[in-house]
């Protein structure tokens, strides 16, 4: 319950109300609070395509003969994937540039490091089991990014 006092003809309710309006105007500037990046359909589509090409790569690595599984025969995959991740990092940096938390950019940087780690070990001719388990790690990474994108889309709906 608000206590109403008259101080030079102005009640506490009036002061409270105008303070509330001033604060809201100051903080919201007539629009809304922004804590996360806007949903970007280009990022969403690019991530989905990268996930598909990565899944196809793992299928090949799990079924190919030893000769076809070598790093030299598959190094183009890493160059292509890292070029896509680089464009994702660039785009996410732009949409998150004024935000305190840059979760999307951080995860694309992590994704880049996942490809680096996979490429490094691929040069040692790893087993099919290695590719099976690393596929699970990439699946988890993509699930995390896609889930994040789903929530960014929901947030703007």
């Amino acid at each position: 319950m608000l206590i109403t006092r008259n101080i030079t003809g102005i009640s506490f309710n009036q002061i409270f109300l105008w303070t509330l309006i001033a604060l809201l105007s100051l903080f919201s500037s007539g629009c809304s609070i922004k804590l996360v990046a806007d949903y970007d359909p280009v990022i969403d589509k690019t991530v989905t395509e990268l996930q598909q090409s990565t899944a196809a790569f793992f299928t090949k690595m799990k079924t190919a003969s030893d000769a076809d599984r070598t790093y030299d025969k598959n190094k183009a995959f890493y160059a292509d994937a890292k070029a896509v991740v680089s464009s994702l990092i660039l785009r996410s940096k732009i949409i998150e540039q004024d935000l305190k938390k840059t979760s999307l950019t951080d995860n694309f940087v992590s994704l880049d490091k996942l490809y680096d780690e996979l490429e490094k070990e691929h040069k040692n001719n790893p087993s099919k089991i290695y590719f099976k388990s690393s596929e699970a790690a990439f699946d988890q990474a993509f699930r995390a990014i896609i889930k994040h994108m789903v929530f960014l889309k929901w947030n703007k709906s």
Binding site: L17, I33, N107, E117, S133, A136, Q140
Partner: protein, 111 residues
């Protein structure tokens, strides 16, 4: 005459709007976090077993461990972003309530 605003009612409506956003989405986030944590634990157990049985080399075990730890870190980073998205939606839902109440009380769109 200064128009009046029911502060208690508005505050209560703001909280209800925010709670609705959280309540609707939070169980989904919790389920996602639990499911991914379980998968991470299972994957790390597999690596340990394969290494013990000699199915993978030490280099492969170390690399897989790094891959799974990083992907799990990505889940937590995504959860941070998701939490902020939910918080943003909840705050804006609450702001919409107070904005509507203030504008109605005053009679024209102030905020």
């Amino acid at each position: 005459m200064m128009p009046s605003i029911n502060v208690e009612q508005t505050t209560s409506d703001m909280l209800a709007a925010a709670k609705l956003v959280f309540g609707d989405k939070w169980p989904e986030v919790k389920k996602f976090a639990e499911s991914e944590s379980k998968k991470f634990a299972e994957n790390m157990l597999e690596i340990e077993k394969w290494k013990k049985d000699g199915d993978i080399s030490e280099s492969e075990a170390i690399s897989l461990s790094k891959l799974h730890q990083r992907s799990m870190k990505m889940v937590f980073t995504a959860l941070e972003g998701i939490s902020l998205a939910i918080a943003e939606k909840a705050i804006n839902a609450a702001l919409d309530v107070v904005r509507s109440a203030v504008n109605t009380a005053i009679g024209w769109p102030v905020i």
